[in-house]
Structure formats: structure tokens, C-alpha cells
């Protein structure tokens, strides 16, 4: 059995992993090669690959590569540990690694089992994206303007995406929607990646700075907010890209539905509430850019937590869910 993977942002063929360098999008479409788990850790940490599901899938692909190159289980376990620590907030990284290691550990032919497990995770993610997209698209009404955040499309998943998957599916179904894409400082996943995907899909859209959301909402120009998630706690609290919480507060203030779109793989039942989620802090230079004083102190959390009470509904692969109790 050989493993072959092809998504919009990651490829695996003949033991070679290629990752579309998302830091260089939209201007350059450059694929970087990963030959070792250490290289994959660097690729993940430097955000060349990003998006909660895709980070997890990039990591397990690196483990599959290691196995196909003849590593034994102790080497694979060591690599798994390193990969798990690359980024702390998204749940998929640890969960997918555990799933693959668990499959290997129970098997006689651990290589074959790992490859099977990796293939299954990729295949499943494509299916899950299709299901959340379908469930969400049914919610979208003709003529709505949908606000989305960060990038939650085919650059963040193996499939069509989560929140952006819903948007693309609604558009496929001929609903005359418009999209407002927030640029999503400091890494600009919205300004660089979501605009790129929306242009490819020819969906009418407008790019704004994150601080313009309230103004647009006050003018009645946003009908619905759709965001992804990096981890959903058992009580429904949602860790997602920094700024999501502000969007949720603004949406509630203006009476605008706020939806979290995610497959079940984003739900962490071991995590009772948002308080338990580790929020990654990233380098100051991402915020300073080239324009702020080089010594100016910076706070740069990559994520925030939106409490369940601010979420109108969760668009899951199993359907749309609304919390009705505390």
C-alpha cells in the first residue's frame, strides 16, 4: 500500500511532502519540501502551513513519511512528540497524531496501519468539510452579506473548508451572496488567503480591516457572521483566531447571527471549558511589522476564546446545533 495525497495546499507522492507556502500567497505560489519531522515543525511554526485541520494533517503526513523511510516505532514516537509541540491551541494536531500512533501501536505491520490511518484522516476531512458546508449553506438566505474571518477554506483543510466552505457551497447553490473578508491582523490570513480563494471562486467580496466590522454592522450591512474554530470545549466555548471574540461581541450587540463552523474533530471533550485552552503567543515582530519602533513592547496572542453564550449556533458535520441550556 502506498500513500498519495493531493489537496489544495499539501501533496504527498513517492515519499515526498510538498507544502504550498502560505506565507508567500497570494503573490507567489511556491511549494516547499519537507523531508523530516524537524523540517515540518519549522514549516508549521512559521505558518507556511496553517489552519487547524491542515496543521494536524501536515504533521501526520510527516510521520507517514518517516515510517515509509524505514523509521522504527521509537523514532516515530519521538518525532510525534516534537510535532505535537509545534503549536498548542488547535486540537487537531495532537488528536490526529494520537490517532495515527495509536493505530500503529496496535498493529503488527505498523507502517501499513499508519498509512491507512493517515489516508482515512484526509478522506474523512474532505467528507466533513462537505457535510458542514452543506449544513451551513441551507442556513444562508438569498441576498445575504456574510462576514468571515481569517481563512477557513481549502487552504486550511483537506477539503472545501469550514466557514468558507459554507460560503462557497451557498454560492454554488446560486444564492446571491456577498462576502466581507476581514484582513485578520497580524498574519493577514483574510487579506491574503481568503481573498485569494474568493477570487478563484469568483464570489463577490470586499476586503476590510478588522476594526471596520462594528461600523459596517451599525450600518446594517452584515447579515451573518461565519467563523471557524481551532478548538471547541465541551461546554461550547470556542478558541479561534485572535479577534473572533470581538466579532462575537459586536454581532450580539447588533443582533446579528454568529455561527461557528467546524467538524466534530475540532471538539475537545477532554476540555471542559475555554479556560483550559492554552492560547499561543507568537513573536512580537508579527505585530511590529516593518513600521513600528523596533523596541516597542508587544502583546501577540494568536487566539482568543469566545464563550458559548455568544454563539448563535454551531454548524457541524452532524447538522446545526444550538445550545439551549447553560
Amino acid at each position: 500500500m502506498t500513500l498519495t495525497i493531493q489537496t489544495s495546499a499539501i501533496q504527498y507522492k513517492d515519499k515526498v511532502i510538498q507544502v504550498l507556502d502560505q506565507q508567500r500567497l497570494p503573490h507567489d505560489e511556491v511549494w516547499v519540501i519537507s523531508t523530516t519531522p524537524e523540517e515540518m515543525v519549522e514549516i508549521i511554526c512559521s505558518l507556511k502551513v496553517r489552519g487547524a485541520p491542515l496543521i494536524g494533517m501536515a504533521a501526520i503526513l510527516s510521520l507517514a513519511q518517516l515510517a515509509e523511510n524505514g523509521a522504527d516505532m521509537s523514532e516515530i514516537r519521538l518525532a510525534a512528540q516534537k510535532l505535537k509541540q509545534a503549536r498548542p491551541t488547535a486540537v487537531n494536531l495532537a488528536v490526529y497524531i494520537d490517532r495515527v500512533i495509536h493505530a500503529a501501536a496496535q498493529a503488527d505491520d505498523y507502517r501499513a496501519e499508519m498509512i491507512k490511518a493517515v489516508q482515512a484522516i484526509f478522506d474523512e476531512d474532505v467528507q466533513l468539510c462537505a457535510r458542514v458546508s452543506e449544513a451551513g449553506a441551507r442556513l444562508i438566505q438569498e441576498g445575504e452579506t456574510l462576514l468571515t474571518y481569517c481563512n477557513t477554506g481549502s487552504l486550511a483543510t483537506a477539503g472545501n473548508g469550514t466557514a468558507l466552505g459554507v460560503i462557497k457551497r451557498a454560492y454554488e447553490l446560486d444564492k446571491a451572496i456577498r462576502v466581507i473578508a476581514c484582513e485578520t491582523r497580524p498574519v493577514l490570513q483574510g487579506g491574503r488567503l481568503t481573498t485569494w480563494e474568493l477570487m478563484k471562486a469568483q464570489i463577490p467580496h470586499t476586503l476590510i480591516c478588522d476594526n471596520m466590522v462594528g461600523h459596517l454592522m451599525s450600518l446594517g450591512k452584515i447579515d451573518r457572521v461565519l467563523v471557524g474554530a481551532d478548538r471547541i470545549a465541551a461546554n461550547g466555548d470556542v478558541a479561534n483566531k485572535i479577534g473572533t471574540y470581538s466579532l462575537a461581541v459586536l454581532a450580539q450587540f447588533h443582533g446579528i447571527p454568529f455561527h461557528v463552523v467546524a467538524p466534530y474533530t475540532t471538539i475537545d471533550l477532554h476540555c471542559p471549558s475555554g479556560d483550559c485552552i492554552v492560547i499561543e503567543e507568537r513573536p512580537a515582530q508579527e505585530v511590529r511589522g516593518g513600521w513600528s519602533p523596533a523596541e516597542t513592547p508587544v502583546y501577540n496572542p494568536a487566539f482568543d476564546v469566545t464563550p458559548a453564550r455568544l454563539v448563535t449556533s454551531y454548524i457541524l458535520d452532524s447538522g446545526v446545533v444550538k445550545r439551549v441550556g447553560p
Copy 2:
């Protein structure tokens, strides 16, 4: 009578106007020369000079220069019309120009009267900044963390500033404050200019992206919000830098005091409410930067309106004012 002006960001001496190019701060301190009203219009439109009071003062300095160079009243009136149209939202530009033209129109020696009027406006702004700073500093409690937005310091006024003036005065009075500066996309006046002023004043501060405000508020890390204003309507509605409205909503949601700091010259009694304030839209390229697709559609309003009901109090030169009726 000769006119000589010296502020942190603008100089006039021997009929030469020099403007500190705020687009090149903090890395380069370059002064550009304006020799005609047409050049000053370009300097204002390209944000080399910015800040509601300072834009107005730069414009009247350009008129004074024209008068000192021998222009007659009809030429001066024509230049005044061009300068007035440079930017629509801040009230000071039109008001200061009208004050200077009015003074000239009623005088035998219109040059002398214009110079006197310009000098008076600069002198008055320094005094007004001192008074709002003093009034606001009394509100600030020991140990508070103050969030501020855009740049409202000595780069935006002839004096010490408005919201940032309050912060600087509180620090001078030995209150152990900390400042959170929002970068203020798309032009980054917070990230480039406010950090620069805070570093010069050695006030402890942290730079964040605008989308991090809600997260910090939810963690209880912001005690008070202080912003400036470009125009305050008669009913208390406030036009200010885009993103101010979102801050006001977030502050109210978290029960955090939200103060608008401005001298009386920012109040426009001819404007009954925020609905009457023209919101300037600026070029898409400011939002796209170098990183978004070159063709992606953009919405780029430079200001928004915060309704009076979201303002805890107004810190004016005449003291701190709270609205108690509709």
C-alpha cells in the same frame, strides 16, 4: 508683525512652512516644505500631516504664507476653498479656515489680521490641550491600564495632545499607569506614531493589533479607554478614526469607561447628530498594502461615528461632561 510657529510636527519661519512627514515616522524624521496651498493640499491628503486640529492649523498656515507672499484676498479665498476640500470629516479644517478668512475680511490690513488670527489659533490649541490633559489626568487612578487609539498626541495638535495628552499628564503627575496602544489599521497611526511618542515620554506601553482589544478586555486588563475626536455633533455623537465605534461597543459590553477627549473646537454645533457627518473614504491601496491581491475590492472608510449613548464622559477643556438626557 511676523509669524513664527514651532510645534512638534509643524514649523513656520521666514515664510517657510516645514511639516514633519508623519508617513515616514517612526523610522525617518523628514521635514517636507510647503510653498503653496496646492502643495499643502497634497501634504494633507497624503497624511503627511494628520490629526484633526493639526490639519486645520497646517491649512491656515498655508493661507498665512500666501498672504505674507503678497496674495490678495481673492487669491486667498480661492486657496481657502481648495484647502477646505482636502479632507471632509474633521471639523477643525473648515472652522479654522473660516475664522482666518473672517478676520481678514473685516480688517483694513488683512495680512496683519490673518497673521494675528493664525497665531491665536495655535496659541489657543496649546492652551486647550493643556486644559483637557489636566481635566482628564484627574480622572485617571493610580495603577490603571489605559487603552488608546490612533494618535492624539503632539503629532496631532499644536500642544501636548488630547487623549494622549491626558495620558502624558497623568504620567507626569506620577500615576503608575500603563498604556495599551492599538495599531490602528490601515494607516497605523497607533503602531507608528503613538508608540513613538510613548517611547519618547518613557511611558510603559504595549502595542497590540486592533482585533486584540476584546480579548484583553475579557481578561480584565483594560481599566479605561481614551480616544480623541474629529468632530462631535451637537447631540454628542462622535466621529473619530475608523474602529473607535467598535472600541466603544466592546467597552460598554465589558463595563469599561469610554472617554472622548477633545477641546471645544472639535464640537460642531451646526451638526445636530452623527448622521450629518460626512465619512471620508480613502484609497483601497491603504488596506490592500503590498500583500492582498491587487484586484481585490476594498471598503476603506477613514472614520466611524460613535453614538453619544456609548460615551461614558467627554473630557473637554471646560472640564468633564456627562450626558444625562437623550
